[in-house]
């Protein structure tokens, strides 16, 4: 499988939202190098506490406190240093602080659910948050999204840009979720599932999950499964 065959297709009818939004015409391929230019530079400073979603209000949010950490790498395994990682998520009850979220679960006055950080010299990111809840959506009868955290990354190149979702190990909703199932192969789906990380847990304080992210490099970069 090449890079593109491992990605979800634009049209995946089980995810109803794709039906009127997926382009129907083929994407136009550009010759090599036309998308090899640097990634955007994020135009704002990142505050020091932006990585800690549990300390953005007067009190602490309700929920299971967790540390989410991992490394951001390019496809050659090189760490991406000083690159911005943005996250957003539902609260522990499965509700987003978004006026369009109509799920009748409580908002948490101490949880906004958004964070940003920069990777360190080893490409490592670290967020402190609470474990998000599952929530219903109207895609099909009794549809529920598995618990997930949304991630947005730029990497080093324009073509490195990635928006994706991190899931939690053992979640029984994952095999039923058309958004996760849109990824064609099982190995690809598993790459979105974090693993419990006992070494990063903090006794008497927080559990931890680890999730590494691999971004596209320059188009000229050879990939290991290409001849």
């Amino acid at each position: 499988m090449n890079e593109d065959e491992r990605e979800p297709p634009y049209l995946y009818p089980d995810y109803v939202g794709t039906r009127l939004r997926a382009p129907a015409k083929p994407l136009v391929n550009l010759p090599g190098g036309f998308h090899d230019f640097p990634a955007p530079l994020f135009p704002r400073a990142i505050s020091q506490l932006a990585h800690d979603l549990t300390r953005q209000h007067a009190g602490e949010p309700i929920g299971e406190r967790i540390i989410v950490t991992g490394r951001v790498l390019d496809s050659d395994g090189r760490p991406l240093r000083n690159t911005i990682v943005e996250v957003w998520q539902a609260n522990a009850a499965g509700r987003y602080l978004d006026q369009d979220d109509q799920h009748p679960a409580p908002l948490d006055p101490n949880f906004s659910g958004a964070g940003r950080c920069l990777t360190d010299g080893d490409g490592r990111y670290r967020f402190i948050t609470i474990k998000p809840g599952a929530y219903p959506w109207k895609n099909h009868r009794n549809a529920w999204r598995p618990a997930h955290i949304h991630f947005s990354l730029f990497g080093s190149q324009f073509r490195s840009r990635l928006v994706t979702q991190m899931y939690f190990p053992g979640d029984p909703l994952m095999p039923r979720d058309p958004i996760l199932r849109s990824i064609p192969d099982q190995a690809g789906r598993e790459r979105l599932v974090s693993r419990f990380d006992p070494e990063t847990t903090v006794p008497e304080w927080a559990l931890a999950y680890r999730w590494d992210i691999v971004l596209r490099g320059r188009a000229a970069t050879p990939f290991e499964d290409e001849p």
Binding site: D98, H150, V163, T164
Partner: protein, 166 residues
């Protein structure tokens, strides 16, 4: 080796809590020298507005902008127009903005380009526009409406915007 790439997933409908930032639609302050206004609408395959799309614009020497569509699917940016861009094959590309589209229902983001209506000659010689079948090129060229550039993004359908493989 770090192994294969991390796959994409949709931005979903609730990115509003995390991704937009204050004055993100301005890569330069409104009214500053050379500032231009760009407005448009994101539409689905039925021609209905897409009220939950996130757009990013990027010119490597002119800054990064990010904004979301409103309930009418409308968006706007204040930015600047830069000059021609060298192409990797030694030719010259007409001035353009790189435009990235995220939305609920897009399992991967889409990449397109906005070219300028007052660059007829440069557009005619542009190596990327020339890869696109002639009848679809107009989807990539903004229209000048009383000094405001107008650029709609049609995700699907008869006048579907040209999107580029990433």
């Amino acid at each position: 080796m770090s192994g294969p790439l991390t796959p994409s997933q949709t931005v979903g409908p609730f990115f509003g809590v995390g991704l937009p930032f204050e004055r993100g639609e301005q890569t330069v302050p409104p009214g500053s020298a050379g500032a231009i206004r760009l407005e448009g609408q994101v539409l689905d395959g039925n021609g209905e507005p897409v009220p939950d799309a996130l757009l990013e614009i990027w010119q490597p020497d002119a800054g990064f902008g990010r904004t979301r569509t409103d309930t009418e699917g409308a968006f706007g940016f204040t930015t600047v127009k830069r000059g021609p861009v060298p192409a990797p094959d030694g030719r010259t590309q007409a001035p353009h903005l790189n435009v990235t589209v995220f939305a609920r229902g897009l399992l991967r983001h889409l990449v397109t380009r906005m070219y300028f209506p007052d660059e007829t000659d440069a557009n005619a010689a542009d190596p990327v526009l020339n890869l696109v079948e002639a009848a679809r090129r107009e989807t990539l060229i903004a229209k000048n409406c009383s000094g405001v550039l107008h650029f709609d993004i049609r995700l699907q359908g008869e006048r579907e915007t040209v999107f580029f493989a990433i």
